[in-house]
Amino acid sequence: MYIFTTLMKANNLLFFFFLIICFSSFAQENYTLSGFVKDAKNGEVIIGANIYLSSDASEGTVSNIYGFYSISVPAGQQKIVVSYIGYQPQEIELDIKSNLKHNFDLKEENNILEEVVITSERKDENVKNTKLGTIELSSDRIKSIPAFMGEVDIIKALQLMPGVQAAGEGNSGIYVRGGGPDQNLVLLDDAIVYNPGHLFGFFSVFNNDAVKNVTLVKGAMPANYGGRLSSVIDVQMKEGNNKKFQMEGGLGLISSRLTLQAPIQKNKSSFLISGRRTYAFDIAQPALKKTDFAGTNYFFYDINLKANYIISDKSRLYISGYFGRDVFVYNSKENQTNVKIPWGNITSTIRYNHIISPKLFMNVSFIFNDYKFSFTGKQTDFSFKANSGVRDYNVKIDFDYYLSNKHLLKFGYDYTHHRMTPTLASATSDTTEFKTDKISKKYSHEMAWYVQHEWEISKKVKLDMGFRLSFFQHIGPYKEINGMDTIQYKRGKAIQPYVGYEPRLAMRYAINESSSIKTGLSLNYQYIHLVSNSNSTLPTDVWVQSTARVKPQQALQFNLGYFKNFKENMYEMSVEFYYKQLWNQIEYTESYVSELDVDPELSYVFGKGKAYGAEFFIRKNKGKLNGWIGYTISRSDRKFSNLNNGNVFPTKYDRPHDLSVNLAYNLNNEWQFGTTFVYASGNTMTPVIGAFVTEGALGFIYGKRNSYRIPAYHRMDLSLTYTPIPKRKPNRRWQSSYNFSIYNVYSRKNVYFIYNKIKGSIASGDIRVQPIQVSLFPIIPSFTWNFKF
């Protein structure tokens, strides 16, 4: 009843908020021009294109993630300009007598060298918008960054941005502004990707050929996003060329990939299919035959699918999906042993766009996603199975309401049904069967209502006000075991509800045309969690939901930034400060060892934390030499009454200094050079400070939690891309390029982890413990051949 009353109050609040917004807007005798902005070459919609009046550039709008725009235009002859970096601006004159629909098809710039794009944003968008801590990267720019083992990776590109830290050597996991790896909302076409890494995170699941662009929000999160504390990584897949057949792919040392896209019905519908598979270990099989690793193999693969259909001028349907798996196998006839360990994600999204009116755009999404880890093993007459995972059914409805050129209202609703599967194990020994029965799957409802109002109060001041009301409920079926007592909840029975009031606020004050100050505040709730006690994020780590014992994580973040562009937007610079307070953070107890059939939440402890820092960023947007330098100074710590004797301790990803440099040099249309340099303070670790002896062997005594910092990490990578242009037929469709990359050019032996090597024994009286540093990747050259047709 309390929850119901609370929700009613919150709904009233939302309605009141909505009314204020509506009254604050003022009607004009204008007409509405609306439509889509697309790439003339392949029909892909363009996200973030600027549409404005030639007579007054401040009267404008930006196309949304489906390419839709809506702008209020005075009656009469009007010149409308559409621009987007990397494309030729288009200006048309229209006689506005009534509401009008018009689609723009933009052509790519011809002079690549002068206008090399390194961001998909408008030239001065970083100064003009209210976004704080937001990074957008196009997949084309990502290709120019030196690639680890030849694998172009969007997540690794984001790691080069200030405030974003790599989870480890060669790892595609990220920590954002002092938050944990589970605090990043990773979306692929609106579907949550629960495990965004292959091979323990060394490669991300995103095949760059299938990706159109990626947006990272690490600052004030708009109200349409929620459910995570630290960041949003929103990846949009390409739609598929609806003009002509297109094929592209690449052959690399460890994997190959192929992408096909084509119109199903020209200009009306299209599809894209993209696949990638590793084969390095398949090739190595003959060499492994006579080693201890005979019979062992590992591979991963991804398949991306997307189709879209333009039903009418007002409606469009998208269907997209992702299927990826990592697979370990071990088969040995001699040892009578078979083991298979597959894990991976499936996502599928159906999206329906509808233009309700020239000012009101709607999108409805139906999403299914599933992450599963399983293990099957058999040796002689003993067999073992285990599986865990998370499965969601999600429906979202989002509206963009273009009240006027000064007011954009976004609102919507988001509902998810979660099913969390803990590690459920079963085994057979001879004819006897065993299985876990004291832990069970958990189910929940998660929903949110949001409203976001972007309001350009004056040319100087722009305000984004948002509010997200989130609600979470643990529901049955569920078996709660309290000692000897068991409570059985029926399907759908409400067990534990939580409500989150999440205000979001961002404001920009334009000092002049080329500089602005922005500030933002956001409160976020997170209801599902990934708690890990290992040094690396593992596929065996299990997502868990909030319950009566596990309360939602919360974070309040304050941001302040100064943004400045120079030399007609050739250079952009920003300084951002953030302070984040976190509550209900979750860790395992210090003596945690996983146990079959014991709910891991019984081993959780809870605490609070804070993270703060300053991020400095300078980027050169065009010219033969372009790129950026990002530097972050930050701290991240936690305080748990049950850990570290109740004292504050740094997180394992506390990284006071983090520097990234990325440069590209385009010698001509055929040759391109790229380099990356990163420097970061070393990770923290809990040192072993002593040992004791039991049964002739050592037990290790630990010091203060995360009190030892390993040496700093630094590395330089180089890449060279050669794209031959045939002299006879320079515009032929078949294009090849050759990429040669060198990872860790000066072969720095960065510390991946430190372990203690024990030599001798207590009994012989000559035992010695030597710390050993393990470094993963020395200099690694790689070569990739890419083709496009």
């Binding site: 091979l199 323990f200 270990f281 190595a284 690793f293 062992t296 370990f328 001699e334 360990i341 040796q379 002689t380 007459d381 194990a425 020994s429 001879d430 006897t432 065993f434 299985k435 876990t436 290992s534 040094n535 395992y588 210090e590 003596s591 945690y592 060892v593 079959l596 809990t686 040192p687 072993v688 400070i689 040992a691 004791f692 002896v693 039991t694 049964e695 002739g696 062997a697 050592l698 037990g699 290790f700 005594i701 630990y702 032996k749 991946y752 982890f753 372990y755 203690n756 024994s761 207590i762 009994a763 009286g765 000559d766 413990v769 030597q770 710390p771 540093q773 470094s775 993963l776 990747f777």
Partner: protein
Amino acid sequence: MHTLKKILLFCFVIISISCEKEFNMKLKETSNIIAVEGKIENDFPPYILLTNSFSIYKDFNINSLTNLFIQGANISIFHNNDTIHLKEYNSTNIHEMPDSFQVELAERLGFDIAQFGGSFPPFVSIYTIDFSKMPLFVGELGQTYGLEIKVQDKILTASTSIPNRTVHFDSLWLETHPNPAKFPDYYQLTGILSDNGSTTDYYRYATKVDEEPWLVSNSSVFDDVFFNGKKFKIFIPKGNRFGDTPDPLDETVGYWNNQDSVLTFKLSLIDRPHYDFWRTLESNRSSQGSPFGSFVVVKSNIQGGGVGIWGGYASYTHHFYRF
């Protein structure tokens, strides 16, 4: 487990063209912590080793061994209303201990008494009952025992219980190694175990070959949550010598071989705090060499600033005679 380790290791080795080198870790000196290794088993006298902790990155040599064992402690065991004062034995008075007990104790401590000229190593101090006082105090099933240690101006206390029953295998037999062609001389000791369904049981086991010292596995404890109340077939892996760390890729580890005549296997029931100690200690040890490991603080039942265990065992010893 071999297979899982192999796969993890394979993954790690293959993906990483890794290199290792010695790392100079500078840490502050830490204060000494007293470690207790105390055991009380049904029908056997209690015994306790007291040792000092030490800084691990310094060389440990024979002089360190001399300083390892703590002498002069005042140790008492409390049982019902009785207080039993333990006596310290070392190379000077070990002869006051019955010979049979000396041999048995040496085997339980993991060394062969013959190697030290029929006596205990000179650096060892051990606390057990005074054999001159009759009747001899031994552990009993279903009893709880308190412990108090006064040493180095500290008072350490603990309590443990011996479960009220023992468990034993219904039958034992040998099976071949899963890869008999490659390892024809190795066997699996196999048995049928019936678990009691009405209680949550915690098990620890140890093995022994002929008259050699006892051997322990790196995973010596398990509970019955997965097989509560079931009767099932189980393999009994041969343990390792105290302090040995077997090669995870050695496919003969855990298997008995042709030279083993009498295979001895002791299965003990222990209480939950005792189980937690070994479980966390074994995880603490195994985490030292893995990038995927985590730090695990050993859960001790010793109060007052020490580490270690005061643990009760309800044990049943099986013998399998190959010849």
